[in-house]
């Protein structure tokens, strides 16, 4: 068989034209907002001087759409189909959005179906499913969609009966004329209603919270539940065509590596192999571009995997070929022990240290973590008549479409991206390199349907990893044990290095994840961010920089409390201080999750509230035998307040088990409490997983972990036997929503390590824990 080398789509070393990626654009807009970086990408969403800042969904590319004709379809048999334009990865959005629409619509839940939108932000509004913001940004537009559709149905009924619309009312999938007792079902009214004008926003009559049928109620079944348990649900790995071929790719083991030469003769003769292609060289800026590699296309995935083992590639590793986690860690520690760029300062920390009764100093290490979604990256693409169709489990539909179009050299309008279910996302699938790979290979194969499958080894070797960091903390304490001064140096390579020149510092969205915006009542504070350089692809991992920041701060507070001989809970509440609303700008947090500082101040009363609730519910203060203890941590992120108490048992050999986790959570209004609980249950398990085992290490620029035997994750026998959740009821439905998908994760690892300290007296400052409790 022939080995064909496909010439690079573009000359080596040049990136496809930079524009378009939505998360990136939003990200860059935030960078630009602080004036720290030059304009890098296209200017469409860069905040310009003198322009009022846009917040929330308005600050996202393509904002929101609230047209019921786009999102709601009612058929003549009365079935209501709600279009969901955000990606489902287990957070429940394909049930949550229909709950919102169906509630305002007065629809019968048994007659509600869901349909996934393709990538089309012009039509649907922003589709980036990240940042714990789908419900936060779309509850209002979706309520308006439901209410407008309901009013159109009511209008259609009133016109049919020749009665004033004020005399009719939609109730449970029917419109009723109370005076005459006449009723018409939604199905019968669908056609005439669709011809009516959509009522204007200011004329919409939204329900009061007392009228909600589904929002805020428990017991809502998942719309995809039956398909999932019967194997019918369609993930990115599942599209299947008779003439489809299957591909795996041997990629550069080092970021930026290039192929010097390769030999695929044996692979080409392996059973089932159809073609070998070389993929274009990587570009100077990583963004979401595929890595350089050699693809094997075969008649089954198994045949492609077997053949790939026979390929011999000689790599030019390039500048990241010496990345070594041990020496890199030493470098971070060295940087953390010297003054760095000051990002927030109040009072005089150095003077306060001199007058302190006691000075405490500690340093924490949090390694790279891989997402390890159970569905590894994968996608299907085909090209018919100059039009490319992609099926992808993507969190970033629009970016996927833009990237595919650019790499194929096709107009944007010639690319369709079907968003499948995601077999886990956690941030990994915000980076759609895998979809671009499938599209490129289909183009090379004259449009034939190609499924690209990443093996678990590919996933762990080429992930966009969670950053790696050292958190160095120092506090001065007075004679009564009160903290008077606080120095925190956070040093970690930035994910902004993906998108342009390495900023070598944490950028505002990273600083704003629980570091710069620490709302503690301490008179003298200095927060510093020394330099670090990225040597691998760093991406968003569920809760992102909150993980190291919370681990450092919440571990350190427990250490301070223990050192002062005080109860951790009381000490933490005292450190937070009185209930008050803090303007995030006063904390130098210019990001604030992209939300208005007025609408979303930091509320220390709510932070205190979750700590008070979780400690009460977990019976904080219980006395245990040695080897058994409770640990506490609290963290504010994604505009929600979370506190966890973890109970551990450590046996004589140092084996750690977690009988119980309690989490108190305040995210404001709760659309679907069952999914909020599910997300927090999952956060508890993921937090334990990363604390116990999570680590990707590098040697010679290469990730050292191959599969789940080396990158362990929590299993059934190691998971908490009980997870108790305490959702704080919202004061009212007018308060703004916080995020749900991510904020449960950050407090878990420090609460677990604080519990291990309570049980054994051993303080763990380096993650993962592994055998350190012995």
């Amino acid at each position: 068989m022939n080995v064909v080398v496909k010439p690079a789509i573009r000359p080596e070393g040049t990136a496809p034209e930079e524009s378009g990626n939505l998360s990136r654009r939003e990200f860059l807009a935030r960078l630009q907002a602080v004036g720290g970086l030059l304009l890098i990408a296209d200017g469409s969403s860069i905040i310009k001087a003198g322009e009022a800042p846009k917040y929330g969904a308005d600050g996202m590319p393509h904002g929101t759409v609230d047209n019921p004709l786009v999102f709601v379809n009612i058929s003549e048999d009365g079935l209501v189909t709600v279009v969901v334009h955000r990606s489902e990865m287990g957070q429940g959005v394909r049930t949550g959005m229909p709950i919102i629409v169906a509630d305002e619509l007065e629809a019968d839940w048994a007659k509600v179906r869901v349909q996934q939108a393709p990538a089309d932000e012009e039509k649907f509004g922003n589709q980036d499913t990240d940042g714990s913001r789908s419900t936060r940004h779309f509850i209002e537009p979706m309520r308006r969609c439901g209410a407008a559709a309901r009013m159109m149905l009511e209008q259609a009924a009133a016109l049919t009966w020749h009665v004033p619309v004020t005399e009719v009312r939609a109730v449970n999938h029917e419109v009723v004329h109370q005076k005459s007792g006449r009723k018409l079902g939604f199905g019968a009214l669908a056609r005439p209603a669709a011809k009516l004008p959509v009522p204007g926003r200011d004329t919409l009559r939204l329900k009061s919270a007392a009228e909600f049928r589904y929002m805020g109620k428990g017991g809502m079944p998942l719309l995809d539940g039956e398909d999932i348990v019967s194997g019918k649900a369609q993930y990115g790995i599942d599209p299947w065509f008779k003439d489809m071929l299957f591909a795996v790719i041997e990629r550069s083991p080092v970021l930026g590596g290039k192929i010097l030469r390769y030999d695929a003769d044996a692979a080409g003769k392996s059973p089932g192999v159809v073609k070998i292609w070389q993929l274009p060289a990587a570009t100077a800026t990583a963004t979401f571009h595929p890595l350089a590699g050699v693809a094997v296309i075969a008649n089954s995935t198994g045949a492609a995997i077997a053949a790939r083992k026979l390929i011999k590639i000689q790599w030019d590793d390039g500048e990241h070929g010496s990345y070594d986690s041990d020496s890199y860690r030493a470098g971070l520690e060295s940087a953390a022990n010297k003054p760095g760029q000051v990002v927030r300062e109040s009072g005089d920390v150095d003077k306060a240290f001199q007058s302190a009764a006691r000075v405490v100093e500690a340093e924490y290490y949090i390694p790279h973590i891989a997402h390890a979604t159970m569905e590894p990256p994968c996608a299907v693409a085909r090209i018919v008549d100059g039009k490319c169709e992609v099926w992808a489990p993507t969190q970033a539909p629009q970016a996927t479409r833009e990237d595919v179009a650019k790499h194929l050299g096709m107009p944007f309008d010639s690319v369709t991206v079907h968003v499948t279910l995601l077999g886990g996302g956690f941030g990994r699938k915000s980076m759609p390199d895998f979809a671009t790979e499938a599209a490129l290979l289909s183009q090379m194969m004259e449009g034939r349907p190609i499924k690209v499958m990443w093996t678990r080894e590919d996933d762990l070797h080429h992930d966009f990893l969670h950053t790696v960091s050292v958190e160095h903390l120092k506090a001065g304490v007075d004679a009564r044990g009160k903290v008077t001064s606080w120095l925190h140096r956070s040093v970690a390579p930035s994910l902004a290095a993906l998108f342009g020149p390495d900023p070598k510092h944490e950028v505002p969205p990273e600083l704003g994840m629980g570091f710069i915006n620490l709302p503690y009542d301490i008179p003298n504070m200095r927060l510093e961010n020394p330099q670090a350089i990225a040597h691998c692809r760093i991406g968003w991992f569920r809760s992102v920089s909150n993980i190291p920041h919370a681990f450092g701060i919440q571990s350190f507070v427990a250490e301070l409390a223990a050192g002062a001989g005080q109860d951790h809970r009381d000490f933490l509440l005292d450190l937070i201080g009185q209930p008050r609303l803090i303007d995030p700008q006063s904390l130098h947090d210019v990001w604030n999750h992209g939300e208005s500082p007025q609408r979303y101040p930091v509320d220390t009363g709510r932070l205190r509230g979750v700590i008070e609730t979780v400690t009460k519910e977990a019976s904080w203060g219980r006395k245990f035998e040695r080897g058994h203890g409770l640990g506490l941590a609290a963290h504010y992120s994604f505009l929600s307040y979370a506190a966890a108490v973890v109970e551990v048992e450590v046996d004589s050999k140092g084996l750690v088990t977690v009988p119980r986790v309690d989490i108190a959570f305040d995210c404001g209004p709760q659309v679907n409490p069952d999914r909020i609980r599910a997300q927090l249950e999952g956060a508890a398990v993921m937090g334990i997983s990363l604390a116990m085992y999570g680590e990707i290490t590098f040697k010679r620029g290469r990730s050292q972990q191959d599969n789940f035997h080396q990158y362990r994750v929590t299993r059934m026998n190691e998971a908490p036997r009980e997870i108790h959740l305490h959702l704080i009821p919202p004061k009212d439905w007018n308060m703004p929503l916080g995020g749900v998908g991510e904020p449960g994760v950050p407090p878990i690892a420090p609460a677990l390590c604080n519990a291990i300290f309570a049980a054994t007296g051993k303080r763990i400052r380096r993650l993962p824990i592994r055998g350190q409790a012995s």
Binding site: E88, G90, Q91, G92, P221, L222, D224, G225, E226, I228, V229, S230, G231, Y235, I237, D238, W240, F246, P271, G272, N299, S300, T301, G302, A303, I305, A306, A372, T373, M374, E375, L421, G423, G424, G425, F426, M453, T455, R456, D674, A678, Q679, E681, G682, A683, A684, V685, M686, N707, F708, H709, V713, T714, R715, M716, N717, E718, A719, R721, E722
Partner: protein
Amino acid sequence: MQLQINEQLIEVSADQDLSLLWVLRDLLGMTGTKFGCGMALCGACTVLLDGKAVRSCVLPVSQAAGKKITTIEGVGSTPVGAALQAAWQQINVPQCGYCQAGQIMSAAALLKDTPHPSDADIDAAMSGNICRCGTYVRIRAAIKRAAGLSEQAK
């Protein structure tokens, strides 16, 4: 070769060494069975072979010939499978749902041999199945519900 899948005889032409997983998924288009690791480490590919849970990603298809293969697409026709699928839905077990086919197949094998499993039995049978979303507490509860047991953790 001939395979007996979900009570149906299916003729398939495949390399003897190809794993059952890729025969099901790529050659037959039966995509309910998932790929997760390729090394029998995660359980996403679990199917039943003569009623026993096996990881189809490491099982050469030749070793499945002549045996009864049950996949997620067929397990609902057994009383245990139907009870598990119902319990899974009542408790809203899935998050992303990707691993749940494998979880249900492992649970089906467990309940077939051990109709009233203890927590230790559940740990032993289910710890080969990873759920990265962390639905373990609900999986345990759903297995107990399907088995007609109290869902309290012990």
